[in-house]
Amino acid sequence: MPQEPHRDERKSAVPWLSPGLVQSDEIVLRTLLDPDHLEPDGKLKVAAAISLEDIRFRGWSVDRRKFTSLQQVRLFHSGLKKRNTTLRKCYVLPIPVSEIRQRIPPNKVQDFVVIDAALWRKPSHATVLLFSPQTPSAARKFRNDLLKKLPPYVDVTEAFDSTDKHGFLRGMLRQFAAILASPFRYII
């Protein structure tokens, strides 16, 4: 059994690199690959797009829009295309964090958490995880439920507007501030 991941939304998974906790009014972007994540008719391949191990243990990687930029996402996509020449196109799912964190009636229990999991020089990195440990079959149920909440995927250019230009710079400045405020500043 893999190590139990960090599931507490009130704390960052990597505080010394964190630009701040993920807020519910944010948008997170998930990259989708055509054809690996999409059917020929354009529908999402459930398992390929959301792996069980990601939502159970590893964290389903997303980018916080406010700490990235169109250029950064494009750079990531072009890196993927270089590694795999059969990749036709990359899209993104612009998902409101509030949708992922939604508490479902009647029990009003939250199914998923969105954790700040910033990486060095990638302050936008966050992960989506199941709220609590679940069996594989239950995780299958939750991922199918999550799929129903997802908005349509779009071309990466449609995911950003003119106000999002300096997201990456903002994220990096905050990341430097976090490093300077942490004990790691002595190592660096």
Binding site: K45, V46, A48, R58, T86, P136, A138, R140, K141
Partner: protein, 140 residues
């Protein structure tokens, strides 16, 4: 050949067939596994894991247990955590089932007006549960 009064006659009858006798649902699924195995032979996505030979073998063994005369062929995909996944979906039902190569599978099935069914650690040799067949039978 029909013998009429000791004289041999060969009678040939042409019947227009609407069914493709050459089509085999089992072969289609096995071919799909072969296709996926070839496509996902090398890791290229950061942090991803390829399905093991055992995962493909488990999927193959499972296919041979499917009552494909009663249920439609599932869509088969590979996930970045090494799962070989089978999906059946229709207007009122959804089945999500997968293999990681440990000789077992887990599943989740939902159908409108019915209680969802879940299963973990089911031995591949046990084949598809009857309840799941009932869910998927409407898609055939």
């Amino acid at each position: 050949m029909i013998i009429l009064g000791q004289t041999p006659y060969a009678i040939s009858i042409n019947v227009p067939a609407t069914y493709n006798f050459a089509r085999s649902p089992t072969k289609e699924l096995l071919d799909r596994l072969t296709e996926l195995k070839a496509r996902y032979a090398t890791v290229w996505l950061p942090g991803s894991r390829l399905p093991t030979e055992n995962a493909f073998q488990n999927a193959k063994d499972f296919i041979l247990t499917l009552p494909l005369n009663r249920i439609a062929n599932p869509a088969i995909h590979v996930a970045s955590d090494g799962e070989v996944n089978f999906q059946w979906s229709g207007p009122d039902f959804q089945i999500d089932l997968g293999f990681y190569g440990d000789g077992k599978f887990s599943f989740y099935g939902s159908k409108e007006g019915r209680e969802p069914i879940l299963g973990d650690d089911i031995p591949v040799k046990d084949g598809v549960p009857k309840d799941l067949v009932d869910f998927a039978a409407s898609a055939a």
